[in-house]
């Protein structure tokens, strides 16, 4: 009896391992073994896993329908995942050789996927002439280790200064202007916060907002070798400055996170906030007379310089080379100026195809123009995996300065130590 149980267990385990370590990729749904001499005539299936907003998914389906009508031999199959799900599923599927040909998502996936060998440089499929039709700032966002790893289709995600035109006449250009405008608009009822109007609010504990201040003082979170650079004068100045927003200027609310500024601005109870491009449409829909401007120039510094990042397509290492022609055709179609403009409008972010900038639907769209104006005061967010260690190191120290009176110089030094440790962990050192 024991022998039979043992045999069953061994057989089962072996069969699972055999199934999971199969090196043969799944047979393509259609036409995987396309004869080289007639690539366009054979049916080709392009699988795409994406992390798109609902509006962008609708646009994608419309454009894909047009595409498949024009190229009946090519089928595009779209599968939606949320951000983290997309990362883990693509990793897992690639490990088993079952991943899709294309992955669509934010550019910070590049650092993760290219080091793991899951994606290939886009130049393996696309000509330089195609890439040159894209905005250089957007292209740079997917560039690392001497190669381009994404085909970006929207650019933005940048934080900007948002103001309620009913409470502030015009966008402040300097920090002094901002303080004056905020103080004028501010009216606090200590007994009833519901009757209060706030001058200037922002997510003070989140490093993605904080880097806008740090960059303005000349800081940069990483050097050219992707090593953290957080212990410097710019960091000390930025930490002290952010602390003083409440401590000296009396602006803001202790413990401001994302929700408080967002909610109060929607209710018309905040004159100015800092928030990203993803939120702008919601404020307009809430009936706010929305003004959008770059972050003001800080005393002794430059304009607040937030990060921008792109979303775009990555090409799997496991892509069947026989599908390269079909994938080139896909990109030619989806990144035509007209189609690119459709995606940009659906996402309320800037198009990446340079020719799309001049189309009337972009020129006449208020949010698109705001995006163009503010994106010039941004810098691409580093896309390398080490960035996670930097974010992780910054937040506790930023909070310690804001809420536990930690000395900014000490916090900057501690940040650097933590970030270096984190980077070493990521690199497996």
């Amino acid at each position: 009896m024991k022998k039979l149980s043992l045999v069953l267990v061994v057989l089962l385990v072996l069969s699972f391992f055999a199934g999971c370590t199969s090196e043969e990729p799944a047979a393509p749904a259609t036409g995987g073994e396309t004869p080289a001499e007639e690539p366009a005539a054979e049916p080709v299936d392009i699988a795409l896993w994406e992390q798109m907003d609902p509006a962008a998914q609708d646009v994608f389906d419309q454009v894909a329908a047009d595409f498949m009508a024009m190229y009946p031999n090519i089928t595009v199959t779209r599968t939606h995942y949320e951000t983290e799900e997309l990362r883990t599923n693509f990793q897992t599927a690639s490990l088993a050789g079952q991943g899709p040909e294309l992955v669509y998502g934010p550019s910070d996936n590049v650092g993760l996927f290219n080091v793991s060998g899951l994606i290939q440089p886009v130049t393996a499929v696309l000509e330089e002439s195609f890439l040159s039709t894209l905005d250089e700032n957007a292209r740079k966002d997917g560039y690392t280790s001497g190669e381009y790893w994404t085909v970006p289709d929207i650019n933005g995600n940048q934080i900007a200064l948002l103001y309620n035109k009913a409470l502030v006449d015009q966008a402040p250009e300097t920090w002094q202007d901002l303080v004056a405008a905020a103080s004028a608009a501010r009216s606090i009822d200590e007994n009833n916060p519901d009757n209060s109007t706030y001058g200037f609010l922002f997510n003070e504990k989140e490093p993605f907002w904080f880097v806008g201040f740090y960059n303005a003082f000349g800081g940069s979170v990483m050097d050219a070798d992707n090593n953290p650079t957080l212990d410097n004068d710019a960091m000390v100045q930025a930490l002290q400055f952010v602390k003083d927003v409440r401590a000296k200027e009396g602006l803001g609310i202790e413990g401001m996170d994302y929700d408080i500024p967002d909610s109060l601005f929607k209710q018309g109870k905040a004159a100015m906030i800092l928030n990203g491009a993803w939120s702008w449409t919601a404020y307009q829909e809430a009936g706010i007379d929305l003004g959008i401007a770059p972050g003001p120039v800080l005393p002794g510094g430059d304009n607040m310089t937030f990060y921008n990042s792109t979303k775009g397509y990555m090409i799997s290492t496991d892509m069947d080379p026989a599908k390269a022609d079909a994938i080139r055709t896909f990109f030619d179609f989806f990144l035509s100026p007209e189609n690119n403009a459709k995606f940009a409008l659906a996402n309320s972010q800037a198009p990446t195809v340079k020719a799309a900038w001049d189309l009337p639907e972009i020129m006449n769209d208020e949010l698109q123009q705001a995006s163009v104006a503010t994106i010039q005061h941004t810098t691409p967010m580093p896309i390398v995996a080490e960035m996670r260690a930097v974010w992780d190191a910054m937040r506790p120290e930023l909070e310690a300065v804001l809420y536990q009176d930690k000395d900014p110089a000490e916090a900057a030094a501690e940040m650097q130590t933590r970030a270096v440790e984190g980077v070493a962990t990521i690199r497996g050192e």
Binding site: M1, S116, P396
Partner: protein, 309 residues
């Protein structure tokens, strides 16, 4: 007896084995489907997790991880962060489970008595369990807000000063404990109530005749008879609380401060922020072993799976 039945029950073993449907292998055929499911859902992931913990799988070695034996375990045990986080996790689990059981049992005893509006009360008390954890945690995060949160507003109205729930890591951790207590007591209440309702009333009547006080009845009748129900529930509650990721991450707003983290959030951070899959797997195996040892010891000590004598 039919010919077929004769073959099955025949004293001749050769005849008996002709029919596979009823033979000494029959029980194993019955459990085979369950075994296959268990193998896919439990044994394989466990085995693969253990295998990963013996490798250096990370971003750079994602496709070709190297076998490093127990290197990850040695590193982990030498880390001061691991010990600190383990102690914090024990505090987190002990405090939570203590209040889950105390509040749950107290409410179950109340609901087991004659009480006006008992049905409505029971529904209201189950609500924390019925609402998705994510929503509960977000609601509590709003209530813990320093300035606009209901808890600080209430504290100020009754003359206390506002507490820095979301700006001081220690208070954030306490806030997470409060949230998880609120989430967890209904389960213990329902389990206890089920157990209480199965206790024969005659035990209490006999005890009353013997002059036993309420406390004596609770200690000598209720608790021993609840043990077979409560002991496995406590083990389950401990495992769930030990591995509670959502509440910590939502209340603390991510992986911000080490003082708010427990072992399972550290595993998540190592795997999905730092991409140290092998190392994170070693953490997971250690968590599994801790819970396995606890579960077995607790059940043996409390004799929770033995029949009540």
């Amino acid at each position: 007896m039919s010919e077929n039945q004769q073959a099955v029950f025949s004293p001749n073993p050769k005849k008996r084995q002709k029919n596979l449907a009823v033979s000494r292998w029959t029980p194993y055929w019955y459990i085979l489907p369950a075994f296959v499911v268990m193998a896919i859902m439990v044994f394989y992931p466990l085995g693969y997790g253990f295998y990963l913990s013996l490798t250096d799988m990370s971003l750079a070695t994602f496709k070709n991880p190297n076998f490093i034996g127990f290197g990850n375990y040695l590193k982990l045990l030498q880390e001061a962060t691991f010990i600190r986080t383990l102690l914090r996790t024990i505090v987190w689990t002990a405090v939570n489970v203590f209040f889950h059981v105390s509040i749950g049992l107290f409410l179950a005893v109340l609901l087991n008595r004659k009480l006006p509006g008992k049905g409505l009360l029971r529904v209201l008390l189950i609500i924390p369990w019925a609402v998705p954890q994510y929503i509960v945690a977000l609601t509590w995060r709003g209530m813990l807000n320093n300035q606009f949160g209901a808890i600080n507003i209430f504290l100020q109205k009754i003359g206390f000063s506002a507490l820095p729930w979301l700006t001081d890591p220690t208070w954030t951790f306490i806030g997470a404990i409060l949230t998880n207590i609120w989430l967890g007591f209904p389960f213990m209440m329902m389990i206890s109530l089920g157990g209480l309702q199965s206790i024969d009333k005659e035990f209490y009547e006999a005890a009353e005749i013997d002059g036993a006080s309420s406390l004596q009845q609770f200690r000598n009748i209720t608790m021993p008879l609840l043990k077979p129900v409560l002991a496995p529930a406590i083990v389950l509650g401990t495992v769930w609380t030990f591995n509670m990721l959502n509440v910590i991450l939502i209340i603390a707003g991510g992986f911000g401060n080490e003082k708010t983290q427990i072992l399972v959030t550290e595993v998540y951070r190592l795997a999905f922020n730092f991409y140290r899959y092998g190392y994170a797997a070693a953490y997971s195996v250690v968590i599994f072993l801790i819970l396995l040892v606890f579960g077995m010891t607790f059940m043996r000590r409390t004799q929770g799976i033995e029949e009540v004598r």
